[in-house]
Amino acid sequence: MPGDVKISCRNIWKVFGDDPKGFMTAHNGSPSSEALAAEGYIGAVRDVSFDVHAGEILIIMGLSGSGKSTVIRCITRLNDPTTGEIIFDGRDILAANDQEMIELRRHKMGMVFQNFGLLPHRNVLSNVAFPLEVQGIERGQREARAREMIELVGLGGREEYFPRELSGGQQQRVGIARSLAVEPDVWFLDEPFSALDPLIRAEMQDEFIRLQKLLKKTIVFITHDFEEAIKLADRIGIMKDGRLVQLSTPEEMVLNPADEYVTRFTENAPRGRIVSARAIMERAKGKPKKANGAGVPADAKIGEIAEQVLNSSKPVTVVDENGFALGAISRERMASALFARDGL
């Protein structure tokens, strides 16, 4: 796991309705689905706990209405959670007053929205400079910084354009540039590419990966698209009806889905790109020995080594980074890992 804990969420509940706090107390802090429905409350987030580590990309996934947005809206305090605890950089964010929250948003958080949320009356330059402007940074300085960001997202030359003159993909680039202008510690992206056409979406995902290589931010990224999730994620959390059903690496999720619901998400996943050799090899008995001859690295994804394994008559050795043999993959094993699934 990379880095320290950046954000820690403990037992967050967010209930919408007339008197959420009273309702929660009446049900000892954990109302059942029936109680919620009976009294006309909506449990947007229910008892969710997780940590976000510095430098990782944590992806939250789930169907529409499962509470993904509400989770990050709780962390950013756009909505106040009904109960629970959120620690951001070691401090209790729910205890922060309005002024402190504004400071946090100005310096530590950046957010990208599904429908871009650009200010229609400002051009690209002034949109990107906006977070700096509200901080009171002097014009020349903030515009220089904004130009840098616009260059970074590949919109150089469009500074004077207004949002309505840009395509969806370009608008979202502006949104990204704006969220990065303040050099935030944590970057929240709420379905940033969902409103885009598939081709543009793929392009923007690559762009995102490129940016993250440069910037190495801590990222909480929301999507309802599993393909997108595995392409970008270090870890994935799956939400259903306000609950976090499983939080693990993509590989773990594919190999050991927590329940039916997760299985359905992972069913059509490109396993070749997710599962590593280590996960499907037949473990060597005894102490690892130095392998003789060529082997496949244990961290290689099975899609990359499939051809080699399938073309070899003998099981192929799997080696760790020091060249010790950890196990072997036979042709049959590889085939069932790639296609049959139940063989594992």
Partner: protein, 749 residues
């Protein structure tokens, strides 16, 4: 219910009618009871005078007390109103100087410095930021103020004795330099108002900037009309009021709107107040204002500001509430404080709605300024009123056209501006001239014409010999129009008298014979059917309020009579026109253009054709209401039909319905809720108009207001106004709750 019923079915029908939940049965019983009651006891027909709650009297006393005795500790109410009047008078003085009065150079110094400070602020804001800009503007003003301190003190002192400005005798200091240069060095002692050519061309240049050559041509022609008909000065008197009232109304409305979106408590108080204000006719605003502030331009300004403010507030609320949540949240995530969020995100993002609000404010302002001629405001309205009273129909026509053209110009300009300002497009490399051409052109026109005034007086205002329509010609025109209408009246009169005697008067008598108890009971039953107990409570208590305070039930029934007769005619005209427009795009284009135009006319104007055709009397009143109040009936019918999902109509087609069947069985039933909302608007507008038609007769609530005006009997006027508003709100609530219910049942909207 006069149906021939076969004997065998009679029992069934009777049983059906006697079922306690049958509305017909309830109505029949109630009507019989109340008529019976009214026959036995007069008090059930006419509310007994002795039981009338003298709210009118109380209100009048209250206003008198406020005016004469009330104090607020340190100062009296009278002093407060004086102060308000004085404050409002200052910008008015300047706008009058600019537009139609001449003044000595020194009087212009304050406005010169304010402009200068604004200009500097503008440049600084462009180059640096807002804060520095405001600071530098304020700094300039401060320096000038302190520098001209004796001058300001003196003017204040004089002002308290109502003489606002004095000429600073021998003052030195930089603030006086421009005046000194102009007056004492160059010899321009007097500054004339802005020459008409500059105003007309200025409007034209602005029109070109916002809407291109076509709009510019229209605007220049319209404004030119004002100049060449010799109505320039009157027009500018009207315009100088508009210019001052609009910023105040807009700012007030904006502020109230913001407040409502911020605080639920404010919303709970202010929103119903706006409903009441919008249902209260123009005239009712005038009475208390006259009592508190007297007659003249300033009271007109105050009444106008109050009257024209609600649309701005409504648009502000609507605008702020409809900013996409993404945009607001991105603002919050950018670290905006609540204030920054409001001023940098929410308000600019709702620019278009706000500008449309401004458009409405301007139109309402113009309408009200014209009506304010009744309380002695000068300008076009005053002239028109005078001509109408003298039956100088030719003059009245010219003046009426002038008002209409002014309305059209203001409307088209603000709409075009709203469109332009809210469509942000980046400017590709434009030359300096392209970007600032309009501004430069305007200043060039201003300077050239100002200088030209010294050589040619007609640049400033056209002298008689250049007027295309000199007064003499106008007299001719007057004669011609009079002759025509006199000619016509020979034919019209018998028709008018026939309709009046055989149709209108019997109908009026019938209305006037309605016992209040009957109306109240029927209203209760109908409201209960349409919207349950809550609605009933609202409507019944409103009507009861009218009954017990108005003192004369006949005023209310006469108002019913005018409004319902006019509304029926409006619906009979408007609905078919709407249907026709929905069928043909070509018709729709023409009809909607006419509707748009009719809607921009100040309501006062509608008296003109009515008087021309019918002189005074009930037919004239109804005739004046119709064009004003038909527009919503047309518009909502058109929209109602257009909004029917195409599948519904396709399905009817596939089922083999003929065009008529389609209309009767499919389109009308689905569109009827929408059409009813149009009818609702029609009724509200008819009510508003009845107050204005008081000028040409009638024995209704509007007349009450009108009569209260010269006597300054505030209570009488206000209560009659509130009476009209109450009737309007009753109709509004009833129809709305029905339409909403029906829409829900149909699953539309």
């Amino acid at each position: 219910m006069t149906i021939a019923v076969p004997a065998s079915d009679r029992k069934d029908l009777a049983r059906h009618l006697l079922r306690s939940d049958s509305i017909v049965a309830q109505l029949l019983v109630v009507i019989a009871l109340t008529i019976g009651l009214a026959l036995i006891w007069d008090g059930a027909g006419q509310w007994p005078e002795a039981w009338t709650i003298p709210v009118k009297q109380w209100l009048s006393d209250l206003f008198r007390w406020l005016d004469k005795e009330a104090t607020l500790g340190l100062f009296t109410v009278k002093e407060l109103t004086r102060t308000i009047a004085w404050v409002l008078k200052q910008p008015l003085i300047w706008s009058e100087f600019l537009l139609w009065k001449s003044a000595r150079v020194y009087k212009y110094l304050p406005i010169f410095w304010i402009f200068f400070a604004c200009a500097v602020g503008f440049v600084v804001a462009r180059r640096r930021d807002m804060k520095t800009a405001i600071l530098s503007s304020l700094a300039i003003l401060a320096v000038v103020t302190i520098d001209g301190f004796p001058f300001i003190l003196e003017s204040l002192a004089k002002a308290l004795k109502t003489e606002p400005w004095v000429e600073p005798a021998a003052l030195v200091g930089i603030s006086q330099v421009p005046g000194y240069l102009l007056a004492d060095v160059l010899g321009f002692r007097e500054v004339k108002y802005v020459p008409w050519i500059a105003v007309v061309l200025g409007f034209g240049i602005f029109a070109h900037w916002v809407g291109g050559w076509r709009l510019a041509t229209v605007v220049v022609l319209c404004m030119g009309y004002l100049a060449v008909t010799g109505l320039w000065r009157e027009s500018m008197k009207t315009f100088s009021l508009v210019v001052v009232a609009v910023p105040f109304s807009a700012a007030l409305g904006l502020w109230l709107g913001i407040w409502v979106t911020r605080s639920e408590r404010a919303a709970a108080i202010i929103t119903p107040m706006f409903d009441l204000m919008q249902a209260t006719p123009h005239l009712a605003y005038l009475v208390p204002v006259v009592v508190m502030f007297g007659a003249g331009q300033v009271p007109a300004l105050i009444a106008t500001m109050i009257f024209a403010m609600p649309p701005m507030a409504r648009c502000t609320i609507l605008g702020i509430q409809t900013v996409p949540s993404d945009v607001v949240e991105s603002g919050r995530m950018s670290g905006c404080t609540p204030r920054q969020l409001l001023w940098k995100v929410q308000l600019p993002a709702s620019e278009k709605t706000l500008l449309l609000g401004l458009n409405q404010v301007i139109m309402q302002t113009l309408a009200m300024v014209v009506i304010c001629s009744l309380v002695g405001a000068q300008g076009l309205g005053h002239k028109l009123l005078f001509s109408l009273q003298q039956l100088k129909l030719g003059f009245a026509t010219m003046q009426g056209i002038a008002i209409v053209l002014m309305a059209v110009v203001l409307d088209r300009l603000t709409q075009a501006y709203a469109n332009k300002a809210s469509t942000h497009v980046h400017a590709d490399e434009q030359s300096y001239l392209e970007r600032h051409g309009h501004l430069i052109a305007f200043f060039a026109v201003l300077i050239i014409s100002t200088i030209a005034v010294f050589y040619l007086r007609d640049v400033s205002i056209l002298s008689r010999k250049y007027l295309w329509v000199t007064s003499k010609d106008a007299l001719e025109l007057d004669k011609v129009i009079k002759a025509i209408t006199f000619e016509m009246i020979d034919y019209i009169k018998p028709v008018r008298d026939f309709i009046t005697v055989y149709m209108l008067i019997p109908m009026r008598n019938m209305y006037q014979a309605l016992p209040w108890s009957l109306v109240l009971a029927v209203l209760a039953i109908v409201s209960h059917r349409m919207g349950g107990c809550k609605l009933t409570a609202i409507t019944v208590s409103l009507l009861f309020f009218v009954i017990v305070t108005i003192g004369n039930w006949e005023f209310a029934t006469t108002t019913f009579y005018f409004v319902s007769t006019a509304a029926v005619i409006c619906v009979l005209i408007g609905v078919p026109l709407g249907l026709w427009s929905a069928r043909s795009e070509r018709v729709a284009k023409v009809v909607m253009l006419v509707c748009d135009t009719l809607q921009t006319f100040p309501s006062f104007i509608y008296l003109l054709p009515a008087i021309m055709l019918f002189r005074v009397g009930e037919l004239a009143i109804i005739f004046a209401i119709i064009p004003y109040a038909t527009v919503p009936a047309i518009r909502f019918t058109y929209l109602g039909i257009k909004r029917i999902p195409p599948v519904t109509i396709e399905a009817a087609r596939m089922n083999g319905a003929t065009a008529w069947q389609r209309l009767w069985k499919v389109e009308l039933p689905v569109a009827i809720p929408e059409i009813m909302l149009g009818v609702n608007q029609t009724i509200m507008m008819a009510l508003a108009m009845t107050a204005i038609t008081a000028l040409i007769g009638g024995q209704d609530l509007g007349q009450e207001i009108y009569r209260a005006l010269p006597t300054s009997d505030a209570g009488r006027g206000v209560m009659a106004g509130l009476g009209i508003a109450s009737l309007g709100i009753i109709a509004d609530r009833l129809i709305n709750s029905w339409a909403v219910k029906r829409k829900r049942e149909l699953g539309v909207g």
